[in-house]
């Protein structure tokens, strides 16, 4: 039967509103889950280094437990399992005229819980990488624990945290496809629906694969700019602010490949 090029190109050039909406859901799910996961990761990551033994233990327990459960199982358990047991049932909510379906909420929370466990380890490693002398200098200037954390530890840890965080977000963009199992209308579920009616399974899966690739490619650039910004102090020329970071990252210059690394 072969590859139907005209169908393939048509799907790429005219995705149609339902598909674009699904794409929006995929991105929204990934971004929200990542932000929530980062928040969980910060709390649990700092928790693992807490002075209080119960906090350390609880944080370690969270990481141990969540890293041992497949995301897919976690998602189904949150959405169907808890409802079946009568523990908790997600319901659709309207947020500023935007309808958040029950499955979408469950997916974001499930993905965030999963991501949080991995983020916690990344955050912990980042915090431990901050030199003691930096913290002592901040203390000696009369900075409170909160200021030391917010102005010195987090920015310096960010330099270490962002590369693996970017890696995780790359994963996250694609892991959202698992939310299809609990019925979130994201691009993979939509693609499956279309292939069931058109039988153009290979063409449609190629399109959706290219879409995921597009998303991760865009993220690559964004991550590069963030990393450039965080490395401003060690670059060959001074870079101040986000705009200059973007320009530094994108501008083709001799040796720029080496410089970006």
């Amino acid at each position: 039967m072969g590859f139907d090029w005209s169908f393939f190109l048509d799907r790429i050039l005219n995705p149609g509103e339902p598909y674009l909406l699904a794409m929006g859901r995929t991105v929204a799910m990934a971004v929200l889950a990542m932000l929530l996961g980062l928040l969980i990761g910060l709390v649990v990551g700092f928790g693992r280094l807490s002075r209080l033994a119960p906090v350390r233990a609880a944080s370690a327990f969270y990481v141990w437990l969540i890293r041992g459960i497949p995301v897919l199982v976690l998602l189904v358990m949150l959405f169907s399992g808890m409802a079946a047991a009568g523990l908790f049932r997600f319901t659709d909510v309207n947020l500023f005229g935007l309808k958040l379906t029950a499955s979408f909420q469950a997916a974001v929370i499930g993905l965030a819980i999963h991501e949080g466990a991995y983020m916690a380890e990344i955050v912990r490693n980042g915090i431990q990488a901050v030199a003691r002398g930096q913290i002592e200098a901040a203390k000696s200037l009369g900075m409170s624990s909160w200021l030391v954390t917010w102005r010195v530890v987090i920015p310096q840890a960010a330099r270490v945290i962002v590369p693996p965080l970017g890696n995780d977000f790359n994963h996250m963009l694609k892991t959202t496809s698992l939310a299809s199992v609990i019925g979130v209308q994201e691009i993979f579920l939509l693609t499956e629906g279309m292939s069931a009616t058109t039988f153009k399974t290979f063409e449609l899966l190629t399109v959706v694969a290219l879409n995921y690739l597009l998303l991760t490619t865009i993220w690559n650039v964004i991550q590069g700019v963030i990393e450039t910004r965080l490395r401003a102090h060690e670059l060959d020329q001074p870079v101040y602010g986000w705009w200059q970071s973007l320009r530094y990252y994108l501008m083709p210059r001799p040796g720029s490949v080496e410089r970006r690394r």
């Binding site: 930096q134 200098a137 009369g142 900075m143 310096q156 401003a232 060690e234 101040y240």
Partner: protein, 259 residues
């Protein structure tokens, strides 16, 4: 400032003791530093001189004795003759008027030199950015780094970093400056530029305690020199006597050990 206030020593340490586990690192250190005085502490490594310095601004806590800066008991409150540790918040407040310069400079590497200097005045003292910036620029001129205001620390030489670190500490307008081996991590070529900034600071009347291995510098800048060994003050004298021919046997032994 009234005559009585001037008469009160800037720093009084009375029988300060500290343990690291089983090991007693400070065995009852007593010292006085008058306002405007420069005290240099010398001694072999492991003698407790850095630890003592770090007790003054509570980067380390001490377990017995008293350290009083100005009129304030550092790190503790005296309740019925017994010492009760201050809260973290109270300790943080006590550090504000005590500047510290470290062996490894410890400039915040993610901030430019100027940002390093204005950070604490803005965030801790609540100064307006304009005021903090103005004083930072004046301080940078004083340490000869006006051209490096917008540079990141990693782009500076060790001597430049240390001068920027001194400017950062001075930006808090401290009444006492602590120097923990400020030139030990520097090349001989850049040591001089840092020492001259410290000398200039001494001449301006700043009260300073300097832990150093630079004997020539100690001799030239100090009002008094202290030898610490094995957690104890072994000798204390004005430089002329300390480094003179009639100094103690211990000082002679130490001085000959480092040459």
């Amino acid at each position: 400032m009234s005559a009585e206030a001037l008469a009160v020593p800037m720093v009084r340490a009375i029988g300060v003791r500290k343990w690291f586990g089983e090991h007693e690192v400070l065995k009852g250190v007593s010292l006085k530093v008058a306002r405007g005085e420069v005290l240099c502490i010398i001694g072999p490594s492991g003698s407790g001189k850095s630890t003592f310095l770090r007790c003054i601004n509570q980067l380390e806590s001490y377990e017995d004795g008293r350290i009083i800066v100005g009129e304030q008991l550092i790190g503790y409150r005296e309740v019925g003759g017994r010492l009760k540790a201050l809260s973290t918040r109270e300790v943080v407040a006590q550090r504000r008027r005590i500047g510290m310069v470290f062996q490894q400079f410890n400039l915040f590497w993610h901030m430019t030199v100027l940002q390093n200097i204005v950070e604490a005045p803005i965030r801790v003292l609540g100064e307006s950015p304009a005021v903090a910036r103005q004083r930072a620029l004046t301080l940078l001129e004083r340490v000869g780094l006006s051209a490096k205001a917008d540079a990141y620390p990693m782009k500076l030489s060790g001597g430049q970093q240390q001068r920027a670190a001194i400017a950062r500490a001075l930006a808090m307008q401290p009444e006492l400056m602590l120097f923990d081996e400020p030139t030990s991590a520097l090349d001989p070529e850049t040591t001089g530029e840092v020492l001259s900034v410290i000398s200039e600071l001494a001449a301006s009347g700043m009260t300073m305690i300097i832990v150093t291995h630079e004997m020539g510098f100690a001799r030239q800048i100090a009002n008094r020199v202290v030898l610490m060994e094995d957690g104890e003050v072994r000798h204390e004298a004005v430089p002329a006597d300390f480094f003179g021919p009639d100094t103690t046997v211990r000082v002679k032994a130490f001085l000959s050990s480092i040459h």
